[in-house]
């Protein structure tokens, strides 16, 4: 874990690019979010988004090379939980143009896959790739704090 811009209340996680390990990351980040006082409902959204982003990093960024790593940085910024997921991949990937609707996909007018980015954008408060000079892709998403306990706990 080389890059870090951590507040004191931060979590860093590094895992192999192997499908299945996104579930370990999911449980780690969910436990972190619970400590921050994020509601159970929002944590379910967070878990879904994190899994989608990690799978993208493993599959598209790192081409499922188990020798490469996926790194996750979580911290509190301006009362939001901000999560960044980095891969070490050789290939840049971005969301496609306008994704097909679920109706079009079910009707066979395109691949049934490729709904991950749409799902991510629907579930979290902000999401997108962060331009940076390092290798691989850097995807950032955030969940705003719900009314309730102070996030800095």
């Amino acid at each position: 874990m080389s890059t870090s811009a951590c507040s004191q209340t931060s979590l860093e996680l590094s895992l192999p690019s192997e499908l299945g390990y996104e579930l370990v990351a999911r449980d780690a980040v969910a436990a972190f979010a619970r400590r921050l006082g994020i509601s159970a409902e929002r944590i379910e959204d967070l878990k879904t988004v994190l899994c989608e982003v990690c799978i993208n990093a493993m599959e598209h960024g790192n081409s499922l090379d188990p020798g490469l790593r996926v790194e996750i940085f979580c911290q509190v910024e301006n009362e939001r939980l901000v999560v960044e997921v980095l891969d070490q991949g050789m290939s840049r990937y971005t969301a496609g143009a306008t994704p097909l609707s679920i109706g079009d996909k079910v009707a066979g007018r395109g691949s049934l896959r490729g709904m991950g980015m749409l799902l991510i954008s629907q579930l979290c408060d902000e999401a997108g790739f962060v331009p940076w000079s390092g290798p691989g892709n850097r995807f950032r998403f955030a969940f705003h704090r719900q009314p309730g306990p102070n996030l800095h706990g």
């Binding site: 874990m1 860093e12 996680l13 590094s14 579930l23 449980d27």
Partner: protein
């Protein structure tokens, strides 16, 4: 060619976790370790033992090693092998671990008479894990290595 093949290095997968030194965040390490252990096929009672041991080790690192300094990190390395899970917990502390605590077995009667009822953590970890070892981390802080074997 002799036909002999060199011994193969065990295939292992490593997860690294860096936590703030604040009480309560040991739960993140517990949930991460238990998630990995379930995925590896450990039985539920062994997973519970692992969670307790990880909680004790991380709490010790927060309280004694890093002395609650939130700027310091507790590093947890989870190494999954085919037949075991290795958990390394290290702190960045300036306060070296008292090695005599690593071998001391608490005597219930004596502890009950003391004001401080703590000091059971190391003993508990030894009871719950298959292997336990104390050393100095690369950071210069304290490190505990706990190994739990996967019974097929």
């Amino acid at each position: 060619m002799s036909g002999e093949t060199p011994p193969r290095e065990p295939v292992e997968r490593v997860i690294e976790l860096r936590l703030p030194s604040k009480l309560g965040y040991e739960r993140v390490a517990m949930d991460t370790a238990s998630s990995l252990a379930r995925r590896m096929g450990f039985q539920p009672d062994r997973v519970e033992s692992l969670k307790t041991a990880v909680s004790e080790a991380v709490t010790n690192a927060i309280e004694h090693g890093n002395e609650h300094d939130a700027a310091m990190k507790v590093v947890v390395l989870l190494t999954a092998r085919a037949d075991e899970l290795i958990v390394d917990v290290s702190d960045q502390g300036r306060k070296p671990f008292d090695q005599s605590r690593a071998i001391r077995r608490p005597i219930i009667e004596e502890v009950l008479e003391q004001d401080d009822k703590g000091g059971w953590g190391i003993w508990l970890i030894r009871e719950l894990m298959d292997e336990v070892e104390f050393s100095t981390a690369l950071s210069g802080g304290n490190q505990i290595r706990m190994v739990i074997h996967l019974e097929q």
